[in-house]
């Protein structure tokens, strides 16, 4: 409402600035237009007198200038006498008034309604960030915590709160950084270290990097019975090709483990894969899939990624069957990584260029998955 009042007020002031001078009727037609020119020339004449007095100009030059200016003065005087003057005409007045009263608001409002968004409120960032948390988008809430942390970077609890949020939103790098900050400020805690390692692993498409491994090792050393860090450490050993140590790690992990625990099946499957040798098709078994249902979302995603990246690496280095290539494409499509799926398709097509039967198999799968193959 205030907005419309202010709009009306501005329009009113604008219209008045036209109407008021128009309405000042009866004002004497003072200050003939010639007056202004004449004033200038008269002043020029006095200026010459002053200059002459001060000796800045030679007397004969002064005389010549005076004649010239006097001639101009006379011309200006004549002109102002002759200047055509008309009285204010009623028609002109009415046109002008109509212009100010009608055309002005009409043009302004019509243009504004075409271009403006009167219902759109201001949204200063601060106001958006301090508004009640209910009904706010997660983005706003995250931005709010981020702002808080930018101002108070030593707030360990803040980092702890935001770290898992980042992970669940698919920002593992940010999550790992947040965990690292929480650990730096509040000291190491095994679950943070584990989650940081997991975030780092996710950030590297399932590869347990040296940093991640270090985090898991620290977590394991602080809490030797914890399963999760040891689980990832075993995966790391397998990824490094240290099959023997990996088998040992899985065995010790499974030893005395509660058979019903969701991770056990996955661990067994990993172990079996290692024992069968590297060429075995490392796909998830039914049990694995069931196990993953019970795992947390992150664990599940991690497991799938770990397997996919293992397969991708092997296929790219050693090659494989058409079925394996197809499976990798499928996996990427399921994970939503179409780009990688397309790359896989291209690689598979290259690998089977001389084998029309397998090539058509790959092409069929690709077209079923909706991959372009270009």
């Amino acid at each position: 409402m205030i907005f419309w009042i202010l709009l009306a007020l501005m329009t009113g002031v604008a219209a008045l600035s036209v109407l008021v001078p128009l309405a000042r009727a009866g004002q004497p037609a003072s200050g003939s237009t010639g007056g202004a020119d004449e004033a200038v020339y008269k002043e020029q004449l006095t200026a010459i007198d002053t200059e002459l007095e001060r000796g800045l100009i030679e007397p004969d030059a002064a005389e010549a200038a005076r004649t010239e200016i006097a001639r101009r003065l006379l011309a200006a005087h004549d002109k102002s006498e002759q200047r055509f003057r008309m009285r204010t005409s009623g028609l002109r007045m009415k046109t002008a008034q109509a212009f100010a009263l009608a055309a002005l608001p009409l043009v302004a409002l019509a243009t504004y309604f075409t271009l403006g968004s009167p219902d759109e409120p201001d949204q200063p960032l601060i106001a958006r960030l301090i508004a009640p948390a209910e009904g706010q988008s997660v983005d706003v809430l995250i931005a709010r915590v981020e702002r808080h942390l930018a101002e108070n970077p030593e707030d360990g609890q803040g980092w702890e709160v935001i770290a898992p949020v980042y992970l669940s939103r698919g920002q593992p790098e940010a999550s790992a950084r947040a965990y690292a900050n929480a650990i730096r400020i509040l000291g190491p805690r095994p679950d943070w270290l584990t989650d940081m390692g997991e975030a780092l692993t996710m950030a590297n498409q399932g590869l347990v990097t040296a940093n991640a491994r270090q985090a898991f090792e620290r977590a394991a050393s602080m809490e030797p019975t914890a399963v999760k860090p040891r689980f990832f450490l075993a995966i790391a050993l397998g990824q490094e090709g240290n099959t023997q140590a990996a088998v040992q790690a899985w065995e010790s992990l499974l030893e005395g483990a509660d058979e019903t625990a969701p991770w056990v099946a996955a661990a067994k499957q990993q172990l079996a894969g290692l024992q069968q040798g590297e060429n075995a098709l490392r796909g998830p078994s039914q049990q694995d899939i069931e196990a993953t249902q019970e795992m947390s979302a992150e664990d599940r995603q991690e497991m799938i990624r770990g397997m996919v990246s293992g397969l991708a690496e092997r296929l790219s280095q050693e090659g494989g069957s058409a079925a394996e290539w197809n499976r990798l494409m499928q996996a990427y499509v399921v994970l939503g990584e179409r780009q990688k799926a397309e790359e896989t398709l291209a690689a598979a097509q290259a690998a089977y260029a001389e084998n029309p039967a397998d090539l058509s198999l790959i092409k069929d799968t690709a077209s079923a998955l909706g991959l372009s193959g270009s």
């Binding site: 003939s32 200038v40 200026a47 030059a61 302004a108 200063p124």
Partner: protein, 662 residues
């Protein structure tokens, strides 16, 4: 609400310019006092409305209101406060709004302080100004609305172009715009005079303060822009003949010519046709500059967003205003009466010479700027016209002009005596000779032109001073009366002296900084020392640092002279995180009028880094000279004679009134 109020104020201002375009002009042509009386109050209302609009946009920037598209595209919540503020005009839409703000500001100035103007001229001038304003508001609303909203506001903006994140941006564009756009008012005066057939000596007098004001700001704006480029771009140069620089330099040259020819028109009523044409040309060049910069024809720091639709629109405005005013000129000019006559050797002759050289120089810059563009458009061939072209064309034109500068103010009006004038300049000539020989003695014959350049600069400076000293016959009447006479001289006389002296100072800076600078480009490791002009510059190492919205690699350098510590400098290379854009921050230390300039280049790994080290003798004189020049304009504006017919204080009005009514 604030944003939308700003938007409405802009739209309302557009509607109001439509009123202002027609009513006062109609009044001026029919002699209707009441219609003419509309112009001044409306000019003030227009200013207020655009001000509301500008403030609204500023508030959106300061509060990081990302529901405004323009803020999203050009701001970032982590940006320091000052750059949130300057960011308002650090982009296309905002800077065009500033353009319009300055247009209406000059309109309002004439509306409020133009009391000495005849009503019809004032009304017509304000109407023409409203045409220009209306054109630009239409441009804003149609192609680059700063108040466009975003339905789902993001939480962060794209940040401001990092090169523009500098205190220079706070000062350079507003100054430049006040100058650039300020010439719109002389344009409006010229067109109004043509419409009303009122081109006479009095007109020149009325226009002079406005020309001076615009010229003063344009001078400062160009100088500021030059200094900014000098320390921000890290190339060590202060003028690059970049098309964008030329775009602001051309109106300056034309404006300077206008300033001088208007004097002839005012004093002798000669050069009327030419002066009016110059007034039109000066603003046309400003418009052309805007077109070049904004249409995307030129790509540079200034081409914030290039959009063909905008280019076509500005081209349309350009054709309308320049074409319209020149058509009007072609129709009216033959009706103008010839003014006073003068001999070639006279003050008028000197000013004509000045105009000749300045416009020729302007034409040279024009050709150098537009020829490559035209060639590219016609044949697709890309050529680059750089400093060599301008040095060969602009330079030779400036030398005779500078040689003639001291003569101009000394020659008498109408018929001058060159011999007598020379006699009054023998001291200046002697000083120039002494300095030339001294420079030769100091530097030997290796640089022949530089000592001559120094002599030229001294000639201009000493010439300016000796003009005023001989004018009051200082040494003939004794210092006591001499000082009294100096103080009593009109402001415009002082303005001439100060401005011409400033020209000399700038020339001196240009000559010494270009001819005698020492430059070393080295790959330095921590602990390395290079020697430049007797200063030992030691690189102590570089370290990363984090700013509010950038990260930088800061080098630390110690500068010693003969083992004595002079200063420590920390130049840096920044990367602005939001746009991943690198910039250079030069390290500059001023010694007297000279500067040591350090700029960091590529990092070579293992702590080694490319460093450019310059010693630039007397370089600050370039900008100091510009400041002195604009000070000259201030002196000239303070001339009480410019306020003739201005509303007088109440006590004096009684006596003044009958005089005016005679």
């Amino acid at each position: 609400m604030i944003v939308e109020l700003g938007h409405y104020a802009l739209v309302l201002a557009f509607a109001l310019t439509l009123v202002q375009c027609f009513l006062p002009l109609w009044g001026a042509l029919t002699g209707d006092d009441r219609l003419m009386a509309v112009a001044p109050p409306v000019s003030v209302t227009l200013f207020m409305l655009i001000m509301i609009s500008f403030v609204a946009l500023t508030i959106a920037y300061l509060t990081s209101d990302f529901s405004v598209l323009n803020v999203v595209q050009n701001s970032h919540s982590a940006k320091p406060f000052i750059y949130k503020f300057t960011g308002v005009w650090g982009n296309h839409e905002g800077s065009m709004l500033l353009w319009v703000l300055i247009l209406v500001f000059f309109g309002a100035l004439v509306g409020v302080f133009g009391g000495n103007l005849p009503k019809d001229l004032k009304a017509a001038t304000l109407a023409v100004q409203a045409w220009v304003t209306g054109g630009f508001i239409l441009f804003l609303l149609a192609t680059s609305n700063p108040f466009a909203r975003v339905a789902n506001p993001p939480l962060e903006g794209a940040d401001l172009n990092p090169i523009l994140q500098d205190i220079g941006l706070a000062i350079h564009p507003p100054l430049l715009y006040v100058g650039y756009v300020g010439f719109s008012i002389t344009f409006s005066f010229a067109v109004a005079a043509l419409i009303l057939g009122r081109t006479d000596a009095a007109w020149a007098r009325w226009v002079r303060p406005w020309t001076l004001l615009a010229w003063c700001f344009l001078t400062l704006g160009i100088a500021m822009g030059s200094y900014w480029a000098y320390y921000e771009l890290g190339w060590g140069g202060w003028w690059f003949w970049d098309p964008v620089e030329n775009a602001s330099f051309m109106p300056w040259l034309a404006g300077t010519a206008l300033l001088h020819s208007a004097i002839v028109m005012e004093k002798r009523e000669a050069l009327k046709i030419w002066t009016v044409l110059l007034a039109i040309f000066t603003f046309s060049l400003s418009l052309l500059g805007t077109f070049l910069v904004r249409s995307g024809v030129l790509t540079s720091v200034h081409a914030f967003a290039t959009d063909p639709a905008r280019g076509v629109f500005i081209l349309g405005l350009l054709v309308f205003f320049i074409g319209g005013s020149l058509a009007l000129y072609a129709w009216r000019a033959p009706m103008l009466k010839q003014g006073g006559l003068f001999a070639p050797i006279s003050r008028e002759g000197g000013l004509v010479l000045n105009n000749l050289f300045l416009t020729a120089a302007c034409a040279a810059v024009f050709v150098g700027t537009l020829y490559p563009l035209a060639l590219d458009a016609v044949t697709g061939e890309k050529i680059s016209v750089g400093a060599p072209f301008f040095n060969l064309t602009f330079g030779p034109l400036m030398i005779p002009l500078l040689l003639a500068v001291p003569f101009g103010p000394i020659l008498a009006w109408k018929r001058g005596d060159l011999l007598a004038a020379s006699q009054r300049l023998y001291v200046a000539f002697g000083l120039a000779l002494v300095f030339t020989l001294f420079t030769f003695w100091l530097w030997g014959m290796e640089k022949v032109l530089a000592p001559l350049g120094v002599g030229l600069a001294v000639w201009v400076m000493a010439g300016a001073v000796s003009e005023i000293v001989t004018r009051v016959k200082f040494f003939e009447i004794g210092p006591k009366r001499g000082f009294a006479r100096l103080v009593g001289l009109p402001g415009s006389a002082w303005g001439t002296v100060v401005a011409h002296f400033g020209v000399g100072v700038t020339v001196l800076g240009i000559v010494t900084a270009s001819a005698f600078q020492e430059e070393r480009i080295e790959t330095m490791r921590p602990g390395d020392t290079v020697e430049v002009s007797g200063y030992q510059v030691t690189f102590d190492g570089a370290a990363p640092r984090r700013g509010p919205n950038y990260v930088e690699e800061v080098g630390h350098f110690t500068i010693r002279q003969g083992g004595v510590l002079v200063t420590e400098l920390d130049p840096s290379k920044r990367v602005y995180t939001a746009r991943q854009m690198p910039t250079t921050e030069a390290g500059i230390h001023t010694i007297g009028f000279s500067q040591i300039y350090l700029s960091m280049g590529e990092s070579r790994g293992d702590g080694a880094i490319d460093v450019r080290v310059y010693f630039k003798p007397l370089i600050t004189l370039i900008w100091i000279g510009c400041v002195i020049m604009s000070l000259g304009a201030v002196f000239s504006m303070a001339d009480r004679r410019l306020r003739i017919g201005a509303p007088k204080p109440a006590s004096r009005r009684k006596t003044a009134q009958p005089a005016a009514a005679e």
